[in-house]
Symmetry: C2
Subunit: 274 residues, 2 copies
C-alpha cells in the first residue's frame, strides 16, 4: 500500500524534484504489531533534515495518521516515508510554489536468516568510498548513489553487509547500517560530521549504553582500529543489532556488551518501544 | 511534452530507483530549429555514465527517435533526458529485473537577458561546497543536492551564476555550468577527477580552442587564480558561452579569447552544429 500526499496510488509526477535531483529525505521504519517503532526519533531526524535542506516540514499529525493507516493490522512490515520538494522539474532553483510531496509506503518485512542474529554476520570492506561533505552529512537524504555502488560490489548472499570508508581512510558505516565497536568495555561509533547517516537505532543504542553505565563515544576509526576491536556490531531500524562474526578472513566473537544490548533491544521490542 | 518509456504521460512509478536513490543520469540539451544540438556528445556522455554506474545502456536509436519526436517543430526548446535503473524501490541492491526507465521531456527555452551575452554575467562565490568522490566525478548523475543547496543561496536576479569550490578550496564549476579562465592567452579549466560534471559544451570549447591554436589545459585552480584571470567565462549546453563581468566586487572585461570563441559558437549554432 502506498499513499502519495494522502491518496492511495503508485505514481508520482515526472516533474518531481525528488526524481530530478534527489531533492528530499526518507525514513525506513520497522512496523511491529501494527505500530511504527521509534516513531518520535524518526520524525525528529526527518524534521532536522527538512531544516538542513530548507524543505517545508510536512505536518507531523498528518504523517502519523498516514503511517498508522498503512501499518494497521501488520504484524511485521517496513514503512518507508519519502518527503521531496515537489516542484516543476527543471532548474536547481526551487520555485516558490515547489511545495512538498509526501509518500508513505508499506513493504514486506525482509526475511533475514536467523543465524545473522544468533551467530553474527559476515562483512566485507567496500571499494566504493563515501564522499566528504559536511553540508549533507548525518541526514537521510535521497542522494544515495554511493550506497548503490557499494552494494553492487558483491552478490554472495552469505555476506550481509559491507563497510564503507571515507576519502580519508576512516571507516564510517555499512551500506545500510551504522557500526559500533567495543574496546575495553567502551562503545565507540564513527563520528559522522563529514559523511554518513546518523541512524535512529544508533542514537537509541548510544542512549541505552549510557543507561547501562557503558562509556560511549563518537570518534574517527581506521580499519585497523575496527580489526582490533573486542566486539563489533552493526545496527539499523529494521535489523536492530547484528553482531559481526567476520570481516573478510578475520573472525570475531559475540561479546558481553553486544549481548547486553541485544537483551535490552529484545525486551524493548517485545514491549513495542524500539 | 513528456515521453516515459516512449509513451506520452507525466507520471512515473513511485517505486522508481531514480526517486529513491537518484539512481540514474540525465542530459539537458538545447533544441534549435527542431534539432537537438551536440546530440552525439550528449549520447557519449550518457553512455559513459551508464558504464560508470553499471546501468543498462538505453537503445540509442530509440532515444534519438524520441528526442526528435519531442523536438520537432520547435524553434527553441530544452530537451531533458533522464535514464534511471527503474526497479522496485526498496534496498540499495538492484534486482536483476530492475530494468531502465527512459524519460524524454521538452521544456520552454529559458529567456536569458540579452546583456548576459553582450556584457557578461555577475557571479558570486557559493558557501555550499562540492564533496569529493572520484567514483561519481565527471558524470551527470541524479544526485544533485549540492547544486540545489548552492543555488538556494541567492535570490538576486542580477546574479546569474554561483561558483562552487570543493573541500580542498579549489574552484570546480558553476552550479549549472563549467568555468574557463584565460591566462596569458591560454585556456584553463578545472580538472574534474574528484568532483564536478564534465560538460558537453566544455568539451566542445576545448576542441574549438585547440583548433584555433589556443593552448588548453585542465588544472587545479584556486579562487585567487580565478580572481587574477585575464578573462573568464562560464558555459553549458543551453547558454553556450557567457562572459563573466564580475565576481562579487571584482570586475572583468570581455577579452579577445572569449570573443573569438563566441564568434565560433555563433557561427556553429547558426549552422546547427553546437
Amino acid at each position: 500500500m502506498i499513499l502519495v500526499n494522502g491518496v492511495q496510488g503508485d505514481r508520482i509526477a515526472v516533474q518531481d524534484r525528488g526524481l530530478h535531483y534527489g531533492d528530499g529525505l526518507f525514513e525506513t521504519i520497522a512496523v511491529i504489531d501494527g505500530i511504527p517503532c521509534l516513531w518520535r526519533r524518526h520524525m525528529q531526524r526527518l524534521m532536522q533534515g527538512c531544516r538542513r535542506l530548507a524543505l517545508p516540514e510536512p505536518d507531523p499529525g498528518l504523517l502519523k495518521e498516514e503511517a498508522q493507516r498503512v501499518s494497521a493490522g501488520h504484524e511485521r512490515a517496513v514503512l518507508k516515508i519519502i518527503v521531496t520538494r515537489g516542484g516543476n522539474g527543471r532548474g536547481y532553483r526551487a520555485g516558490k510554489k515547489a511545495g512538498v510531496t509526501r509518500i508513505v509506503a508499506r513493504y514486506d518485512w525482509p526475511e533475514y536468516p536467523a543465524e545473522f542474529l544468533l551467530r553474527g554476520i559476515r562483512l566485507r570492506v567496500c571499494n566504493t568510498r563515501l564522499g566528504n561533505n559536511p553540508a549533507l552529512a548525518g541526514i537521510k537524504h535521497l542522494n544515495r548513489l554511493e550506497q548503490v555502488l557499494a552494494r553492487s560490489e558483491w552478490h554472495d548472499p552469505r555476506i550481509a553487509e559491507g563497510l564503507m570508508l571515507d576519502q580519508n581512510d576512516y571507516v564510517i558505516e555499512g551500506t545500510q547500517s551504522n557500526l559500533f565497536v567495543v574496546k575495553q568495555g567502551c562503545l565507540l561509533t564513527p563520528e559522522l560530521s563529514r559523511c554518513g547517516i546518523k541512524g535512529v537505532m544508533r542514537e537509541w543504542i548510544q542512549e541505552q549504553g549510557m543507561a547501562l553505565g557503558i562509556e560511549c563515544s563518537e570518534t574517527d576509526l581506521t580499519l585497523q582500529d575496527v580489526m582490533e576491536a573486542d566486539e563489533l556490531f552493526m545496527c539499523n531500524s529494521l535489523m536492530g543489532i547484528w553482531p559481526v562474526r567476520s570481516i573478510g578472513e578475520a573472525d570475531f566473537a559475540i561479546g558481553p556488551v553486544t549481548r547486553r544490548l541485544l537483551t535490552v533491544l529484545g525486551n524493548s521490542r517485545g514491549a513495542g518501544h524500539a
